[in-house]
């Protein structure tokens, strides 16, 4: 399958005491973590990162979201592909055993 390049924006919102969080694209290898480019919108209250021309090798974008912290704390990630918000968000609670996962068909 030919490689596609898409524009991605991720918006993370935290609720409660989340002490540590991370986002991966495609898989949960450490090299796939979205570690740089994050900023914060103080008006809307979310962290965001934009990834232009991001290469996708299959027909879907996989987003993984993880967090740790106090009981009751959680995170959610809104995914925008080519400036279009996807209908479902990726969600993760601090106490969830595994990463929250969303697969978005291109």
């Amino acid at each position: 399958m030919p490689q596609k390049k898409i524009d991605i924006e991720l918006r993370i919102q935290k609720t409660g005491s989340v002490f540590s969080w991370e986002v991966y694209l495609e898989n949960t290898n450490s090299s796939s973590r979205v570690a740089n480019g994050w900023d914060y919108d103080p008006v809307k209250g979310y962290y965001y990162v934009t990834l232009d021309k991001y290469p996708i090798s299959d027909g879907a974008l996989d987003v993984f979201l993880g967090c740790e912290g106090k009981q009751g704390g959680k995170t959610s990630c809104a995914v925008f592909i080519n400036s279009k918000e996807q209908t479902s968000k990726v969600k993760c609670n601090n106490t969830d055993p595994n990463y929250g996962h969303g697969a978005y068909q291109l």
Partner: protein
Amino acid sequence: MKQTFFFLIVFLLFVQDITAQLLLENKTGDVQFVPLISITETQTQKSSGIIKLNTGDQSIGIDYFNAPNAIGSPKYKFWSFGAKAKPTEGYASVLKNGQFSPGITLSGAITQVKLFDREATKPENNFFDWGALYFNYAINKYQLYKSDTLFKNQVYSTNFNGLGLGINYNILLKSSLLISVKFGYARKNNYNDLNGIEVRDTKIYFDTASNTRRDIITTKTAKQGTFKEFDSYPFSLALTKLTSDDPSNKGLSFGYSIYLNVSPTNTDKPNTTTGCILYLAKMKEGISTPTLGLNFQFSDFFDVNGINNGLLKRLSVGLTTNFSIF
């Protein structure tokens, strides 16, 4: 009594505006653990501040946190600076006698989040840790009374400067139980253990023309006894039950912290202080925030000083709270 009531009213007015992260102090104003500040509710998202009130040592203070690289990185560092001020004789002496002897403590810490915990957040291993190197420096002025000296020198002031530094390590188990260990060095004094007294000086004037005697009375609060400074090597262990941040919690949640402090010194037998802080928390902007804490503390739990006055007489009770400002 009137002064205490006034102070409590001021304190309760502050309580109305609490929005805080968890930060608990004991009766003498020592932080039980270096808090892990979540940067969720700050405006810049890289820094945060807390104002602290503690009726135990009657102090008001501020802590400032900065985590420049925390966004999107599960393993990160943050640093903090703090300052705390109090009248060393308490507010009653300020309000009643107009007497003010300042006590200031400056503090700082560098904290590493995830020391032994693996970097990835999942799969969940119910373990999360952080550790800090901390320092503090206290500058206090005290009023003391000494009876076996010249009359004019009996009430005198003394200054105390004390450095503290050490290591703090914290483990969060199952997102709700916090174990905290702290040890290090601190220059201390015995001011809090001395007996508080009130010194009243009366000057008498007689006016022959009106046949009137006038008494001018000035009052000072001081402490009586031998003031000593010493090196100590404090060790603290605390177990804290955190309240849940579940947004469906509409009412008050109950949490507690049980702690043990041992402070061997170069002059005295190791003094063990133990106690618990019971606190109520309510949801505020998505965070379960301690609104009011009641601190029960037993000083010299094992009576190593041989005072033999019974454990209940070594019990002290105080209120503690805090709230964020940024």
